[in-house]
């Protein structure tokens, strides 16, 4: 049983988590690294 697909969105909550991710790492990140983290954030979301 699958859910209805939702449109992808990089909203304030996800961006805040990306900021946290960069603060924790203390160094710049490539777009690829941020994309990977963004996918993980989407996966973690309820």
């Amino acid at each position: 049983m699958s859910q209805e697909p939702k449109p992808i969105k990089a909203g304030p909550e996800q961006l805040e988590k990306l900021i946290e991710f960069m603060r924790r790492n203390g160094r710049p990140q490539t777009l690829e690294a941020l994309t990977r983290r963004y996918i993980e954030i989407l996966k973690e979301a309820k």
Binding site: Q3, K6, M22, P28, Q29, L31
Partner: protein
């Protein structure tokens, strides 16, 4: 680095000054024995301690005679911390340990504490004797007969290789697989439980297999339980799995999102799989959001947070400009950090600082220009000595190479791909040799990195000439506006090693803008080749000895083009007329025709037209076939062309 996080409370005696000194000495000795066990004595002579403190100018004292009595008194006042010991030769030693206790005067040598940290009541593992092992095997076999049928899959791992007596154990018979009764496995019709065949490994790998007793193959899982009476070998490592432990994986519910193009992505897939299939599309969504959020800043492909990005003031920019002026060439971000800011690559904030530098310099468009690649960020500034000193002005060269931006005028690729390696093999023309340039043609575009930013005008290239152990800094000028692109700064490499017509080989280096440059070597040879005599303002043929391999069709030798001897250069306004250059080439290389015209081959015209201006073969061919009507192809001979000067019949 290991640190002693919990420092003991020292039982110091004496005056506060003496206690302070004693604490200082204990700390010093603790660091001396940082790798010691906690209770191992750390010993130091009074003399050494005195020397150290005098060098440190303890309380302004530099004389050992003044410090030594103070020190001895201070340490002796804390007998709980320091043990005083005097050697036979009178040398005084003080001992302590990392617990802050006075070192034992004559403790046993066995000071390590492993045995205290390990379990002392563990019995040593001993190899069983043959009799013990035989008894164990027999007991195990009997136990196996009585054992009820095992309900699940069992994987028997190899037992420890032991010296088994061959009399008792005739064969390392594999354990018969125990069938899994269907009734015991939790019935889950929707998600079938995968039951793999039993993998059985002989219990004793080293025991020989007698031919009379063939080892049975593993029997596949049966549907009915069978007692394990047939088991003839012990199964010490077999661990039955209880039916309740066999748990079917929970069904994965897909979590779906849709990308802007309508593609549905299942988030329950592994991140790597999503990245591989949809990475660019997801990145595009994220990139848009990052770009719209002022909290994020980026330099090229790197992103960071604005409030964590370091600031640079006018003073910083001035220092960086001065550094560039001092070096007199474009400098990399790593060089600026190292030489201007004394940053080390091992500093924790190195990458963040590097990002801040690049980000801030990029915003100072008037004062700094980015001329680097993604993996080698190089900056220059107005006033820094330009790279290369071509005979012609950069603007003229750019105009000369304008034809390269027309895809129909570009020659076939000179890129040679050998496995996963590529190289550019290029035959040098007179124009390239004289100006120290190379064309940024289709081959070069496929070979050199493109601009990192839309407004990037040039890229600094580093060429390592492996045959001479010399490196050259060159500059790739990207095409823009009415100009074509080219690479400049190689004039000294060319004039020192090559002649026009030489084969040049360029290969990628360790960074995207680093390359190795070499020429194809050949036996030493001498030829009379064309040069321009600046003093006499004429073209001349001079004998020259060289050791590079040349393409003779593209070499301007006196044998082929003797008519060029003593000729003058074209005037600048004439040089701009490509038809005139081609017409001149016919007169120098063509065969005179009865009608007053000339017949010449493309191979002869090509090196000649490349004296004054760069031409590709395709560009030259285009001019000869579709340009001025004074030129026309010879229908009877491929790549042969007629030129009939205007006004002649």
């Amino acid at each position: 680095m290991v640190q002693q996080l919990y420092l003991p409370k020292l039982e110091l005696g004496g005056t506060p000054e003496e206690q302070e000194l004693a604490a200082q000495v204990w700390n010093l000795m603790r660091m001396q024995g940082f790798s010691y066990a906690m209770e191992r004595p750390i010993s130091q002579s009074l003399e050494n301690l005195t020397t150290y403190l005098s060098e440190q100018k303890y309380k302004g004292l530099t004389q050992a005679e003044e410090i030594m009595p103070l020190l001895e008194k201070a340490l002796s006042a804390s007998p709980a911390v320091f043990y005083r010991e005097e050697a036979d030769d009178g040398t005084v030693f003080f001992k302590t340990n990392k617990k802050g206790k006075a070192g034992s005067p004559a403790g046993p040598l066995d000071q390590h504490s492993f045995k205290n940290r390990l379990k002392q009541d563990v019995q040593a593992v001993e190899t069983p004797t043959a009799e013990e092992l035989a008894a164990a095997l027999e007991a195990s076999a009997l136990q196996a007969v009585d054992r009820p049928a095992l309900p699940s899959v069992v994987q028997v791992k190899p037992a420890v290789a032991l010296p088994l007596p061959t009399a008792q154990v005739t064969t390392p018979t594999p354990v018969k697989p125990v069938p899994a009764p269907a009734a015991v496995v939790a019935p889950r019709p929707a998600t079938p439980v995968v039951t793999e065949a039993v993998s059985v490994t002989p219990a004793v790998a080293s025991a020989p297999v007698p031919p009379a007793t063939p080892a049975p193959a593993a029997i596949p899982v049966a549907s009915t339980p069978t007692p394990t009476a047939a088991v003839s070998a012990p199964t010490p490592a077999a661990t039955p799995v209880a039916p309740s432990e066999v748990v079917a994986p929970a069904p994965v519910v897909p979590r779906l999102i849709t990308l802007p193009d309508g593609t549905v992505v299942d988030l329950s897939l592994p991140t790597n799989a999503i990245m591989q299939q949809h990475g660019p599309a997801v990145a595009a969504v994220l990139l848009k959001a990052l770009g719209e959020d002022f909290r994020f800043v980026n330099f090229a492909n790197d992103w960071y947070i604005d409030d964590m990005t370091g600031r640079y003031g006018k003073g910083d920019f001035r220092r960086i400009r001065e550094f560039m002026s001092e070096v007199q060439e474009p400098v990399s971000d790593t060089a600026i950090l190292r030489d201007v800011y004394n940053k080390r690559t091992t500093d924790n904030d190195y990458e963040a600082t590097r990002f801040a530098l690049n980000f801030r310099l990029f915003r100072e468009k008037k004062d700094f220009e980015f001329v680097g690649a993604n993996d080698d960020r190089i900056w220059t500034a107005p006033g820094v000595t330009p790279i290369g000193q071509p005979r012609r002005k950069a603007s003229e060269i750019g105009t000369d190479y304008k034809f390269l931006e027309d895809p129909t005028q570009v020659d076939a690729t000179e890129l040679v791909v050998d496995g996963n390696k590529k190289r550019w093999e290029h035959v040098l023309t007179f124009y390239e040799y004289e100006n120290g340039v190379l064309p940024y043609d289709a081959t070069a575009k496929a070979f050199f990195p493109g601009p990192l930013f839309d407004d990037q005008k040039s890229l600094v290239l580093r060429f390592e000439a492996t045959q001479m152990y010399v490196s050259y800094t060159a500059e790739l000028r990207y095409p823009g506006g009415t100009r074509g692109g080219w690479i400049m700064g190689l004039e000294s490499f060319f004039s020192n090693n090559l002649v026009p017509g030489a084969l040049l080989i360029i290969q990628p280096g360790d960074k995207s803008n680093h390359f190795t440059i070499e020429y194809k070597q050949a036996e030493e040879q001498e030829a009379r080749l064309l040069f321009y005599d600046d003093r006499r303002q004429k073209f001349v043929f001079r004998p020259i000895v060289f050791e590079c391999s040349i393409n003779k069709e593209l070499t301007l030798s006196s044998e082929r083009f003797g008519r060029l001897e003593g000729q003058r250069r074209l005037e600048e306004n004439e040089r701009k007329k490509t038809d005139l250059i081609v017409a001149n080439a016919f007169e120098y290389a063509g065969q005179k025709q009865p009608d007053g015209g000339y017949l010449a081959l493309l191979d002869d015209l090509y090196p000649l037209v490349n004296i004054e201006r760069p031409f590709s073969r395709a560009y030259l061919q285009h001019l000869l076939t579709a340009g001025n009507n004074q030129f026309r192809p010879d229908e009877s001979t491929p790549d042969a062309f007629f030129y009939k000067p205007a006004g002649r019949r």
